[in-house]
Amino acid sequence: MNNDINLYVSWVNFFDFLNLLIPSISWEGFAKIIWILLPIIFLLLGATLGVLVAVWLERKISAGVQQRIGPEYAGPMGVLQALADGLKLIFKEDITPQNAQSWLFTLGPAIVVVPVFFSFMIIPFGNKIILANINIGVFFWLAISSIVPLGLIMSGYGSNNKYALLGGLRAAAQSISYEIPLALSVLGIIILTDSLSTIDIVEKQATHGIFTWNIWKQPVGFIAFLISALAECERLPFDLPEAEEELVAGYQTEYTGMKFGLFYVGSYVNLILSSLLVTTLYLGGWTFVVPVETLLDFFHVSNSDIGVKVWVGFFNISVTLVKAYFLVFLAILTRWTFPRVRIDQLLDLGWKFLLPLSLANLLITASLQLFFSSINI
């Protein structure tokens, strides 16, 4: 008997009792429709909640670094500050500057935000806890995240502002030059795993806890990926597109209200997404330092029990989130410690250092993989 928890079946069964009450409506079809909508709701809610936490962390940690107190009054320890900011942005007047290309101007933020939210679908939080286990997982993320610079250029160009234009161009240059090392480092992982699916990537790392995490097999790729991901997120050592000291706010200069809010949310969602991806690709995803099976054996708990399975699921989710938020913490600390690089130095780093580095890493990974597989045969 299959002992796995089948959420779909229990969801449909949940509507059975309604079938008894009002038999005239096809409740199973209703349940199916809601079942299709559920992932979207989960994604939006989960990502937005993640952003609220990340914004609060950013403000509190930056306050700690700078010997300030940070948000204090909105909720306990100011946890609701991000929510209050968001509400304020919603109620702000939405201004489109004169002579701006209003189509590009309006569409830009949406194009920036949507792909980032979409990418969350391929993030695994547990063995079966994923929104879409598509077999091209990582590739899907790489493909869809390269739409973002289009939105940045659109908003930069459509704003009718020189700073915004410069910011949009910078954003495009930066995204393009850092996507290549990013993709090359991911390729190393894919060669190791023989699969593009994020679930497979994590399960490959899950065998012996911390020792089989990809970070040990791909240390160079890890560093290249980390730097590129930070650059893709446009956070402080690499936040040139919105460099306040040079370009006022870059492509965001002319935006107010919720359109600005979209950029804001987008950047934090991107940060969390990148942290989750680093977790998935290099830090063993949902796997704990010691494999969960070993822990269960140690405490003499049966793995087949439904209750245990639920707890293990929660445990996996928390482990993923803890790893991801640790990386978010590092990114925040970096932001409030380092100065900003210059645009030519940024491009030099991308093209002259990270690209050769990740290429060499890929080459070595591929040849070692070939070598070891030939020995096995």
Partner: protein, 394 residues
């Protein structure tokens, strides 16, 4: 338009300031950009012009003193010092030793405050926001010291022709020594955070290079000049106040780039602490509650009656007349040579009071430094020049 950006035929003209978020004060730069490269840059001044020199012409010196702190509002003691030094030199007024030491202590504290408020914005210009908060922590203590001695945090109105307005309050000297002990480790903390940071070094070393000859020819002064390898410090050259009684060195550097200016200013902060420490110990009369009480108590023979121990000499009356002579007086302000060319005509008011603000002269060199650099370098170079628009526009 994007195609045009990369062709040198039609550079994009961007107006940076006066309301650019990182522009220092109300300076406006008209920058011609070829992509990310700066083709040309033209500073537009005058948004903060208040006619300071003309105002001086119908005020007595004492009446004018409250205005002068608005020239360079971050190094306020220096503006007051030069305003009283000019008529003092013109009328050959000798000031008591104690007053002179108090002045030196105040000036050096003010120099540290000014350098601190240069460091923060300079780092913010490069993109590091955090040092800004650290420097305010220390600057606040200096301003607390100022407040307890002068009653005001920024616009002190403390210097007077012939001395200072009031003696140091009881316990002030110990507090100031405490500050010196506290401050030096904090400078080390800044250096730990900033000096060896690879991104910082990449952003500032070799940027905005001024050769020794250029620095002299442009008339630069202060850290701008010393960072280009010229050992020129008016505190040594002119020997004003009691600087020659204290043991300290000119801080200078040969490199001539933004990093050199950073290094010089950081070292100058340490050197100022050195000066303050010595001055606090050597100050005639030392730290006591009230000189006046002691003096009266000990009667006519009291050594406290001697000139050097007075904190203020024969107070020139508010109707002090400026002799009919002319004279150029200068002090070494944190930004450079702050001078006043004073012409008197035996009247209460100066006939002419020409201000030589260091920021104004140093700012001239900006366009020639940023030409051919990257857009981001404008802010680095401007930050390293250290201008205050209050004194540039006057």
């Amino acid at each position: 338009m994007i195609a045009n950006l990369n062709s040198s035929s039609s550079p994009m003209v961007v107006s940076m300031g006066p309301h650019h978020p990182s522009m220092h004060g109300v300076l406006r730069l008209i920058v011609s950009l070829d992509g990310e490269n700066v083709v040309d840059c033209e500073p537009i001044l005058g948004y903060l012009h208040r006619g300071m020199e003309k105002i001086a012409e119908n005020r007595t010196i004492v009446q004018y003193l409250p205005y002068v702190t608005r020239w360079d509002y971050l190094a306020t003691m220096f503006t007051e010092a030069i305003t009283v030094n000019a008529p003092e030199r013109l009328a050959n007024i000798e000031i008591p030793k104690r007053a002179s030491y108090i002045r030196v202590i105040m000036l050096e504290l003010s120099r540290i405050a000014s350098h601190l408020l240069w460091l923060g914005p300079f780092m913010a210009d490069i993109g590091a926001q955090t040092p800004f908060f650290y420097i305010f922590r220390e600057r606040e203590m200096i301003y607390d010291l100022f407040e307890s001695a002068t009653g005001m945090r920024m616009m002190h109105n403390y210097f007077r022709v012939g001395g200072v307005a009031a003696d140091l309050p009881y316990g002030w000297i110990e507090k100031c020594l405490d500050f010196c002990d506290y401050f030096l480790p904090k400078v080390n903390e800044y250096e730990k955070l900033i000096t060896n940071n690879p991104i910082f070094l990449k952003r500032v070393s070799g940027i905005g290079y001024i050769s020794r000859e250029d620095a002299i020819n442009w008339g630069l002064s202060g850290p701008m000049l010393r960072a280009s390898g010229v050992q020129w410090d008016l505190r040594k050259v002119d020997n004003y106040e009691c600087y020659n009684e204290l043991n300290w060195d000119i801080q200078w550097n040969n490199e001539g780039d933004c990093l050199a200016r950073y290094v010089v200013r950081i070292r100058e902060m340490r050197e100022s602490i050195k000066i303050i420490r010595q001055a606090l110990i050597a100050i005639p009369g030392g730290s006591y509650e009230s000189l006046e009480a002691k003096r009266i108590n000990e009667g006519r023979q009291s050594p406290w009656n001697e000139f050097d121990y007075q904190w203020i000499s024969k107070k020139p009356s508010p109707t002090f007349k400026i002799p009919a002579q002319e004279h150029y007086v200068r002090v070494e302000a944190p930004k450079g040579e702050l001078g006043v060319y004073l012409i008197g005509d035996n009247n209460l008011f100066p006939w002419r009071l020409k201000i030589r603000p260091p920021g104004f002269i140093n700012l001239q060199v900006l366009p020639s430094l940023v030409r051919g650099m990257k857009l981001a370098d404008i802010m680095t170079i401007l930050g390293s020049i250290d201008i205050i628009m209050g004194e540039v526009d006057r």
